[in-house]
Symmetry: D2
Subunit: 337 residues, 4 copies
């Protein structure tokens, strides 16, 4: 086996921890070389998954370690752009969770640093590595369903994240709907030209959170004239509900359903099956595959499939959706650059 | 058995013919007394379903027949309001297909004639008589799914209707999406407050038809703050596709699917099942039930479940959707009265 | 419309009542001329569905009425053969519920009377008139699934019938499984050659009923070498469960499912949909279609699709299953003639 | 991390290769220490998955290596019992693929060697480690479906294995249906008391294979009086089809379906979804989990969940099914000891 890629993970919250596990135990090509988190305990727990994994409470120590080739950024959303810049300047290849940034200026300066230092950048749109999404994209790009006409997608989280997460999240469109916007681009290979969104606060109860949105509908127009609608909610008592349906001139393709295993029960009380508990469960395979892809790109000096530009485009749609929902009118992509 | 209600059918196209069949053969309480159609042959064919059914090529002859108690109006959309007015003035109880009218002024004058002459009026929103819709409404109004938050609905016709139909249809929103707008009101018991729509022409090819829309997305806001999105298309190679999903604070309810019978085949070529061929097939039971309801209301002097006001409200939403799709902005219900 | 067929219904229990309703209200070609039931009240209720329907407490009065052309026999199972004989001798065309008889000798003498008097006989295997079964048979006989290899079928009743019904039913195989045996013959067009069955009493609790079976598995071998297994139960807390799956050299066909309408709900308590409440609900269309077919055969002097021989064959399988379950060995069809 | 368990794999055909991959790359607690196969090339390919993995063409060399703690036996079925005996005598813990043996005498002598040498033995019934099967067993043992009454199970392979495999397989019941027999025991916690089977050769075409069966139906009676039917086929053009349904006094549980991913397409040609390609695909998670369980049992000196007795019981049912299919009668478990 070739030499392993030494990787550092910055931010060891739930997602960072998950990635540490993948790197240490499920990615033979990678070595979990270092973890950084300003919460010492979290960092220690993550490091325990590897062997000889160094620990830092300041991520700058990790970036200064020249033996580390690449970093995984899984910190709060409002730190992504700054960390991408610093990691690029420290000459690390970068895997960064979505969103790339919270505004376009920040996104652009991060992408400039990446380009200027010739490092790789992969954005964490894990759905692109899910077997079903890949199968769907293949069928759609092959023209099996004809020319794309109408898309209906949704992502509904079981419950809102904690307030501490919410306040640094960049808002509902930038934090959640962004996955669906990217899915539309990935599945169809088409760019969005117009955005309209409407949103509501129906779930969040804390007065400090009330300005935030938790329910939304986004209408998109694509470059070929096709229409899409994306619905999002921070509540779903029946598990993590992620589905998308793409209709074309020859038929439609539907992806996703409300079930986890193939067990169903039928009793006097009704028919029942289990639900998808979380994105962990639904995208288990995809989370591992995206990291393996990143490690392989670093090892073999190839460009990742999910680019910084993909991160920028999805962010642009999300920011326009946010603005549209406030202004009550449709906005074209060139109204935000 | 009590005395049968003598009914006249005005307009014996496909739908009128279907109603004649229902009245003559499946509604013991009704008597198909007369049919009127300016196409003599169509009128004759319809009359053949009854016994002693009189035939008119001018509907006015039918309206003048005092022995006729009630009329069914299944003429082109652009004649509905005028016919409702005349029938009301002739003192007939009226079942009228949707849409009630093509603009609000016409709708209002029709409703005034109905009120002024104290006749009954039922609008042909047949979904309200489908067992699944009724079951769904009961569950939703009983609060089984909690407070309504997010609705996703669709109606997709297998293919566009003929040009002659299209040009008198009132447009895509008024002709097709109106069924879904009414379904939202029926299922939730909530009124719409805001409308945004976007539309495209992706299917119609005749240059004369190109100004018409055949694909659309409508976003609605309801009086309780809930959001809805309705998608419509004039193309569906996989049969008549009508579904709606209503999510609330306690879970979601989904209605409709792409299947007709419970037969599935699995071969090397793939898994397969049959499709719903048309609205006839999907709403077979509902079409019979709505007419029986109307006949019963006439016989027992009760008000129909689907009122003129229901017809007016759905029309108002459809007209706002049309305008919103042209202006690119969200409109509130009070912007059209 | 041609002259209507005057029909008498013998036995106005639940099923007889249902047939009276179909004849009086849903079959324009038929006239419900007479009903006979030794329970006077039941007969009166049935007659009320028609107009000028005569009432008899002794079925012989009905058979003596020369104006009656055909009879429907829906009396207890142990009277079928005798009534078929008498009706044939009275020169009536006959629709008789399954089973044709409770033993082969009785079946044969009934069929002889039918043949001897040249009357028509249709057996009440209503599944043969269900749209899904017909669609399935067409696909299978057309060879879409290749040569038949393996069949898995089931019928599960929500709950056992009342003791009074059970004691005259002829036993579980003759009363219930017989529908599945006929379905195998109908769907595949193949004859059964060997029968093995095993049975248990797991549901019936009354000591007088305990000798009867309520749960069974029947293995069949067909003339082309294919194998089938049929399971039956008198208990199904999740509604009337009737499904069959036929696998051939090119794939399989599955028919039936546990759902009634296309409404599903998803809540914290689980996913749910409604169930098929009873055979009335599942075979609503089929029950009407089979009677209309019979009436049409009488009116047009054609032979019914479901013949006395079909009734005899299914009975033979059922009786062999009963015997096999007692002897613990496989029996060939020629071991009972 | 504690010291890794050094494991040797005997037999590096498809399944052995799969296990080598699991041990080398997906089971951190294990070390792929040695592989043995009389086909040198296969052994080399398997060894390449590990690092410092020794290679033997004679499995006895592997058994003599004292540094090896445990072995995986994935050789042809007719060698299992002999290898278990030898491995036990060499003091190795043993994971052995099903079937444990091809007759009861061999099974018993293998189990005696295991007991006499106090080594561990796990049988390769991987379904017991599938999340859906575990969820189902929990629900059934918890009584969620009431007392067990009726079971319908099936396993259908896409195509027959090659002749070389078939002739050493022990026959259709012992090779294939044995998985379903074990599933019945696992899911219900109940023992089988009576066996009836019928079988046919409908698929195999080579005259030398014709004495073998490729299609079968097995009826089982369980100790509580419940009935089961198991169907098996060596042909399934629509993918690997494994399903089981367990009905009890409170309802039923269904496990398995014909789909792989949650992608469906709907076109003019019909509705479609992908199929499960093979047992690899369906039981991917289970195959890894069973090996990890075995390695953990060895490392922590615990008894495996799937015991030699489980292997013996399933074999006994399979042998009785074989005999019953020849004798045409039901056999009780005590007719083979």
């Amino acid at each position: 086996m070739s030499k392993r890629v030494r990787i550092g993970v910055i931010g060891t919250g739930t997602l960072g921890m998950h990635h540490c596990h993948t790197l240490a135990l499920l990615t033979p090509q990678a070595e979990l070389a270092a973890v950084a988190d300003n919460r010492d305990e979290a960092a220690r727990a993550a490091a325990a998954l590897g062997s000889e994994t160094s620990i830092a409470t300041d991520y700058r120590a990790l970036l200064e370690d020249r033996s580390i080739q690449a970093v995984i950024i899984t910190t709060p959303n409002d730190t992504h752009a700054q960390l991408v810049r610093e990691a690029a300047e420290a000459d690390k290849d970068i895997y960064c969770e979505k969103p790339l940034a919270l505004d376009m200026a920040d996104a652009d300066s991060a992408l400039e640093a990446v380009a200027g230092n010739s490092v790789k950048l992969q954005i964490g749109f894990q759905r692109r590595f899910d077997p079903a999404y890949r199968e769907a994209r293949s069928a759609l790009l092959a023209g099996d369903l004809g020319s794309i006409e109408l898309i209906v997608g949704t992502t509904r989280d079981p419950a809102p994240p904690p307030p501490a997460y919410l306040e640094r999240s960049g808002g509902f469109f930038v934090d959640t709907a962004i996955h669906d916007y990217d899915a539309v681009r990935f599945l169809t290979g088409l760019e969005v030209t117009d955005v309209f969104a409407t949103a509501a606060t129906l779930i969040l109860e804390d007065p400090r959170e009330r300005p935030m949105r938790d329910t939304s509908v986004t209408s998109l127009r694509l470059e070929n004239g096709a229409l899409a609608t994306i619905t999002n909610s921070r509540r779903s008592n029946y598990g993590y509900d992620v589905r998308i349906e793409v209709a074309g001139s020859k038929g439609k393709l539907a992806l996703g359903e409300e079930r986890r295993t193939a067990v169903r029960t039928y009793t006097e009380a009704g028919a029942s099956h289990d639900f998808v508990g979380s994105y962990w469960e639904l995208f288990q395979t995809a989370y591992v595959a995206e990291l393996r892809h990143f490690v392989q790109c670093v090892a073999e000096d190839k460009g990742p499939e999910v680019t910084g530009e993909d991160g920028r485009k999805a962010l642009q749609i999300a920011l326009l959706a946010e603005r549209s929902s406030q202004e009550g009118r449709s906005l074209s992509m060139d109204q935000l650059r």
